[in-house]
Symmetry: D4
Subunit: 249 residues, 8 copies
């Protein structure tokens, strides 16, 4: 409910086309559907330009399925993240046509064509094979949002030649998503090689002093490359979401 | 030295216009000026599209001045961050025409006009008066990089009406920089109100359990708004740098 | 054993109605029942005005059951928290009539009517569907203590309209319990919207930099709203307990 | 701007008493005074029932003084916390009649009588002499808000008899504020002795493993007494604020 | 090999009763039995006055059994700590007569009478029923070392009367072991009540901000009672070991 | 006020020698002197067998002086720890005859002879010259409490021969206090060399990853020698206090 | 692709023996095999003198097997670390002749003789039986790299005689690898006893305040012995790798 | 006192050339000079092959001077680290001929020629100008120990061309010391570029989430390059010490 719509509404009220009660109702009513334990935001696409996504973490299979069904009823594409095998089974039963990608732990219901968008490709680069689930989550989500995605996987900084071999891919991207665990140095090195914004995703890959991804997170936050911003550990989805916003024409 | 220039160089070498020694030299020579204790990157603007900036932290007044002089000799605008009063005095003596902004702790030498750029304004919103030095650093840097900046200061979430009063400013921005210390909730609330990317800057403002800004940093990294990315604590410069990249036409 | 009762006791001793040994005994005897591995406090209701509660964490099913039986024998209502399925099974067998609520992980034996009490309703607001077990623990406990409870669930700050749609519920509450994981911003936003005390409950919902709820905990402790106090991570029971004390007429 | 006032405003608009532009203005205008670097909330007392307070932390002496002057112009009492000697000097010059309390680091401008309020006294108990500045901040603020305050100072748990000697004071309080550094055990012990809500304030007093008050903070959050809630380290003001809300008739 | 024995050895060497090679050998040989992956210290009792104990943590069932058998061959009593059910089964098979105590996770092979020792009883006090495994480990170990032990269980500080009811037990002990999780306040309170040394054992009981026992550990290290020292989290064995040393006549 | 004295008091009350009001008074009155901001415990020596000590940390020079004067009036020896030069100056002025030891930061007023006590000497061993202030605090305090003290300073584990050269001193001690910063390994090595209890004092000496003494603290808590207990970082006083208790005949 | 090879390549290009396209290709091509989700570095041995190793952590059994097969095809020896039973089963099926060492969790395919190398033996010393998996990983890897290895196991500092009994082994080593959990003191003690470099490996063995190996890690980083460097917790492989480099003739 | 010398001593004792008392004395006497508060190790060069160094941290100017004088009397070169201006002044007065290097905070007394040693040069590479004090400490110490040192300063990974321009210097080094603050990525990148061992030195340079160097430390410990080991934050001396040992012929 922005200022312009409010102004229009008040005009119609002034002309008697909208009653005071209707006006109050319109001002108060929220663009969500009440499910009891969840309030599903069916207007989010309208407000933010990207379809609502169901974050699977911490929800029961039944909750995920009900929310997904509510969103599916609106006719758009539906994306569910952090899909466990249990949730996937539940979704396949209750959401016909849903597609399950086990590596990035995503479920997608495609009901509408995805229009290509974006000023250029989004490059997703990751440091090691172990970072693949997070990197692939970022790549698949960015594709679903209409972006062209180029993958550069297993290109950690200790084998710089593997990274430099894909330098042209990185340089022609309009945004780069850099995914790395352990020491997280990939973000700084990539940041220094490209002029585009780099969204860094620390992963929980590592052991001992990696502290579940905190080492990589701190490294990325302290990047000496000024074009780096950071999202939460393992948050491939968030990186793709922001990259998609940045890539908008 | 990118692939195209390498290709051209090799062509010229093949035609005998460039000797083998000259070629080797060209391949090895780095686009920086050696100052002994610093290697000043005079070609960075070329590579990344933004002028080199001198990060003042951890450098002596003499080091900052020498690096700034080297960059100034190249004729462009020069920006120095984290300028202490001592450094400012040194700069005023050795860099005629330099301008010192004490609140955001910046020094600027303007030698070239700043062309307006960017798809829209960058909004800089901060939670409290105490966050002002960081917020103003972000705002002043973004302006120096050619962006139109709109400031919304002292608009913390505990007085939501102060934030909502500036909702139109936030909504018309192409990027929002959200600066907050203490609990850092501003990033999530702003993230939910706008469709643009939000760059969150935690500040070290707070006491006790704020742990020098770590509380705000963690909050921002865990934002439930998907359009939020984060930079280091008090890193107003970094936020402006990325916002400027994102705002490019 | 407060000063008044001590005074009375001493009077009776002085009048010879109570022997020295009886007096010593009365002074030393503690109002608890010794179970060997537990000392069950059967007089707590007397001392604090709220029935004793069995905290299920860290106790074996047998220990929980024995303590609950001892308390049940006193005739009042008995509440057991953090009830695992194993404990629930044990309780159903040994405590006839016990009721098990799986979502908030509570078991309740109702043996006495609960008198309505409190100056007004207690509002329990939570940020996401995943916070529901903790929020529902707070709500159910507050109801068992005689309070009217109003629930506002899945109202996180990134969708501010969902929260504002329930603003009237929040404003008419005499105490608000705000339950949130991730960045925990809900406490500050709600704190700024109401005049009543807000009891913030961080939850362990989140991943990566949420550090098992520590991020939300720190955010809430640093709240810029002055009417916020905090309890331990996931401590819905504690929040309800204090809210109930505050709500007393 | 609550729902009732909105409804009234819309009625007046419908009757033509308020123009559309006036209505829009009323809806948008925020109850604050714009000072450039601060937005002073002059209506806060109206909204929350307690006067606005200037938190001195992180503000320059000039900023504190300007905000205080703005608030003073509204005619009520003004309270400034965390007042350094520099700020105190500035305030004495620019805010005639201001009173400076150096131990609790407060400045107070009394312009209106403080009406006694509250269901009973608020007890402020602290563990050691070193905790006095925080405890006295809590006590003085609670008094300024109209409460009767009873102080029990230097009553740490290692000398239990010093605490028990004041048991009657603690028991007749309607709220207890427990202030302690080091191991913070005072909160749990007091919590077990009284039926009233206990607001625990960890202090930064201690050394080594006290980690600047984090040890006491963690202890208080883990209190085995269910009537304890916690505020930030050294936050005597916040404790008094909430205690005052709880104590309202 | 202490100085006296060295002196005697050198005398015998001087008299020709011990050859140079024998002397060298005696100086080098260590009083342990090499098992390949373990070096079992069969002379420890001699050196330190307390029998060798097998710490079960991090060893395979086979390793524990082999070490225990080697120690058993020396004829003394053998104590194994942190005995998992798997290790217990292995021990029962290979170490006839071994006794398994499941609550404190101990296994004991009694082959020699335990002589009573100690200046007085050791009191073991714990805060809650959940702390029982650690408290019972301390108590059982202290008994095996020949001490008289008095148990005061479930006597947390939030129900001070339960603790004070056992005050005489605490006061007549020559050492007190205080076992507590959560906020660990028991150590300070007990420390203030007795004149004897108090050995504090934090336990990992708690949740959320207890951080696996770190909250209790920090509290105990910061105890305002000067007679408190601390051992590692859940280290009931270590507390009993030191208490036994302190209690020696 | 222990059970025996209570019993005697009640007898006298029964015989009419003590009135009810006198009895109540005796039960309530605490053995401390109220100074307003401090409650000075003049009976502590009676209760715990060791003179009251003024911990200087966090108190103003005036507070320290007033408390010391109150204790001095009782005629015994007075010990003040953590004495800054400012406090020392204040004490010299107001407490004639006070002695100031700058290295261990102690002030001592000797008014009574110190009777020798203890089963044997207390050895104080420290790792490096930098640990000397803490080690000397422990040594001087132990001496003031009547113990014979033997110092082994600058005997870190990286030069094991320096430690072993004093092995006989360590072995004949009835308690050892091991003081070390950095990696804190001294406690484990000494613990393995002696049969007596070892009280480990981590110091804040070190830099970087020593984290202000936390590294040494953690090492000492994890000691593989079972006869080691730990006190807070830099707490030389506490170590001496406990060592003195342990050393009692 | 080092400078010399580049120079030679350019010469051949200048002589027309290598076309411009071939030259470009040679400059760009990376010495790895693309497997889709992994880029296997078949030239690493050439670059660094040690065979490529497959780090098993975080990879699926299928990924490990495919990478191992690709490396095996090159004819050299292949080493896989952190081999779980599942991975071991997969490898046995797909990599005939592979050898599985369960204690150090290694798999080795021997296809080429290992030439003895190194200036002297590498000593691997560990503190306790529980540290054996990490110590044995270091020892076995060092042997596979051609070094002579001497093992000193279960020689913790609390039983110094067990360590000193192997002093000659330690002193004749050209590098020492010191493996310890808990307080990690072994590194400092060994560091002080030998002149050779000591590579310290903290292990995650311990409980409570060992914080998963962080205590030992911090201790080792703060070692007062200057010849100690540190690798990640449980990183036996890394220690052996560096020890092997240091031991090169 | 190693085994061989012990054997010889025992022979002489057997032949009557050394009395039993002399033998005992020789076995006990430590090769250090007792200064009261320090035990100066004058035989360290003998034992470890490198001259004793005075670590300046935590010592008073007087202590440093006395220790340095004792060492100087032995005639070798003396190195003092972490020299503050105060200590430098004291040394200049009491140690004629001492040389003070302010940037690396070293003082050196050259009394003997430094023989060139080492298999090759040691390269010291640092990330930024701010890391210079630590890098220069490493370089100057390595030179004093007889090594040839090559410096590559201000070569952070965000400007990879600056690092690659010095690739030949790095590749011909027999050991590389990599010094970096902030994200510490330099260690991993250098580790991947060279075959030699890399000793990583995290520095405390950075702000906010660098946590005083902990971010760089964690990154280096998690390096994906296997040839990297780590020393304490800012420990340039330690890195040079180990590098020197590794570089020995």
């Amino acid at each position: 409910m922005d200022r312009e719509r409010l102004s229009a509404l008040l005009d119609r009220h002034a002309r008697g086309e909208v009653s005071r009660d209707e006006l109050l109702e319109a001002l108060a009513v929220a663009p969500f559907v009440e499910l009891g334990d969840a309030r599903v935001d069916t207007h989010r696409a309208l407000r933010t330009g990207v379809p609502e996504v169901v974050l699977g973490t911490g929800k029961t299979a039944d909750q995920v399925a009900r929310i997904a069904q509510t969103l599916a009823a609106a006719g758009g594409n539906v994306l569910i993240t952090r899909v466990t095998p249990e949730v996937a089974a539940e979704l396949r039963e209750r959401l016909p046509g849903v597609e399950h990608l086990p590596v990035p732990r995503l479920a997608i219901l495609r009901q509408a064509p995805v229009a290509p968008r974006g000023r250029g490709p989004i490059a997703v680069v990751c440091a090691g094979t172990s970072d693949l689930p997070v990197a692939e989550e970022a790549a698949a989500v960015a594709e679903l949002f209409g972006n062209k995605v180029e993958r550069v996987f297993d290109a950690g900084v200790a084998g710089l030649h593997r990274l430099l071999a894909s330098l042209d891919v990185l340089r022609r991207a309009s945004v780069v998503i850099a995914v790395a665990g352990m020491e997280g140095a990939l973000a700084s090195v990539v940041g220094g090689l490209v002029a585009a914004p780099v969204i860094a995703v620390p992963t929980s890959i590592g052991y001992g002093a990696s502290l579940g991804g905190v080492a990589a997170l701190l490294a990325m936050l302290n990047s000496c490359a000024s074009n780096v911003t950071v999202v939460n550990i393992d948050n491939g989805f968030g990186a793709a979401y922001v990259a998609s916003l940045v890539n908008r024409a």
